[in-house]
């Protein structure tokens, strides 16, 4: 097996979101490649002691995003890697973020305020995306 899921009770994300995030993370870091199999629902359920629907929901979302495909009776497999596409975008995004951070500091925000503002904006925009 290529990856194993783990759940963090204090992450603030629901278990299904954590699974989606961990798969995306592994794809982005190049730990998972096209053709790799994700843990079977049974494996994930037994390992984490979670509801099977949670795993199915996460896999469905990944499938919807075009990252994995289910082969009935066999398992769920990676169909796309994220690393190359997104790595190219990292540079410019990082630059934008640097510029924004400098702006925030000039406006008198300390590190804690910057982090709070980011977290707050991030969460509310994520919530809007979901809604």
């Amino acid at each position: 097996m290529v990856i194993e899921f783990h759940l963090n009770a204090r992450s603030g994300l629901s278990p299904y979101q954590q699974i989606v995030q961990q798969v995306r993370h592994a794809l982005r870091l190049g730990l998972l490649h096209e053709g790799d199999q994700l843990p079977t629902v049974k494996d994930a359920v037994e390992r984490l002691a979670i509801n099977p629907n949670t795993v199915l929901k996460a896999y469905k979302e990944l499938e919807h995003a075009g990252l994995v495909a289910a082969r009935p009776g066999v398992g769920t497999f990676v169909t796309k890697t994220l690393s190359d596409v997104s790595l190219a975008a990292h540079g410019p995004l990082r630059q934008d973020l640097r510029r924004w951070l400098a702006q925030a500091r000039r406006a008198g925000l300390d590190d804690e305020s910057i982090e709070a503002l980011f977290q707050d904006t991030f969460r509310s925009s994520a919530a809007e995306d979901v809604a």
Binding site: S14, V45, A49, P52, A127
Partner: protein, 298 residues
């Protein structure tokens, strides 16, 4: 599809005290249902009504479309693990499996044997010598081996240590993957159920406070924090579940119908525990559904 559990105005009275009152519920099949509530809320009463150990004082209950305990066939469709997971202490593990085979027409002896060996239980061990966790696993194995369509478990993990609790829930969840079975399990701790349940019923003060799909419940509740404000000033489609106020700030847990547009509010998502606790404390304070008025601001 037939509901796993359907109750209509269900009530049970012991002497003068209503242990459960006016309970109306419809739990879809194929779900893992968490029944949460403080001790003495009526959880065991509801479960005992569901498996036919008790008869209702008021209203009605149906399990898998029929009254509970209606006949032998109906009893066979429901597996029950009682609180403290009782077993026969003088009988061995293997005796329990044999007994299960005699008593249950649909008994899956092979699966039960396999499960016992997977769990590493010694078939010759007397059940009285098993640890709490092993006893719970044996009780669950027996309940599963009768191939029920509905499995009812009363506080199955309450007396287990964290490791045994996890192992028990792993066993329970792998059962859900392997067999098509609806599950209702109770606990006084949300944390026990949070990962395993996809449907939640909150029972407090002998009444159902809220019930629904876990994702729907999470999506429908928010914490609003902002400048001090009268709850009556909130939009009409917001139901205030919990509120607290300081001189300058108000904080509400609301069930809401749509997005929050007022920029004065900081809107936060809630954990399942937050939602459950809000309903429990509302039940305890007896505020009921009615929205409290200005008095809180004075």
């Amino acid at each position: 599809m037939t509901a796993a559990l359907a109750a209509e105005g269900l009530g049970k009275r012991y002497g003068r005290r209503w242990a459960l009152s006016d309970c109306t519920l419809e739990v879809p099949p194929g779900r893992v249902v968490g029944l949460v509530g403080p001790n003495g809320a009526g959880k065991t009463t509801l479960l005992h009504l569901a498996v036919g150990l008790l008869r209702p004082t008021a209203g009605s209950i149906e399990v898998l479309g029929r009254p509970p305990g209606d006949n032998a066939g109906q009893i066979g469709r429901v597996g029950f693990v009682a609180q403290q997971t009782p077993v026969y202490s003088r009988l061995s593990v293997a005796d329990h499996l044999r007994l299960g085979g005699w008593l249950n027409p649909q008994w899956d002896a092979e699966a039960a044997r396999r499960r016992i060996s997977q769990l590493g239980l010694d078939p010759d061990q007397r059940a009285g010598r098993l640890s709490g966790g092993e006893r719970a696993q044996l009780a669950l194995t027996l309940a599963v081996a009768k191939r029920p369509e509905l499995l009812v478990l009363d506080e199955p993990v309450a007396s287990l240590d964290p490791l045994a609790r996890r192992e028990f829930l792993q066993l329970l969840m792998s059962t859900v993957v392997e067999h098509e079975v609806s599950i209702v399990l109770s606990s006084h701790l949300v944390a026990d159920l949070e990962r395993v349940c996809d449907y939640l019923v909150v029972l407090a003060s002998s009444r159902v406070q809220v019930a629904g799909d876990v994702d729907d419940l999470l999506a429908a509740h928010r914490r609003l924090t902002g400048p001090r404000r009268d709850p009556a000033a909130l939009p009409a489609d917001y139901e205030v579940i919990e509120e607290s106020h300081t001189n300058v700030q108000s904080s509400f847990i609301v069930r809401y119908g749509g997005p929050v547009y007022d920029p004065a509010w900081t809107v936060e998502e809630l954990s399942l525990e937050d939602v459950v606790l809000a309903y429990m404390s509302r039940a305890r304070s007896g505020a009921g559904v009615a929205r409290r008025g200005l008095s809180v601001l004075r």
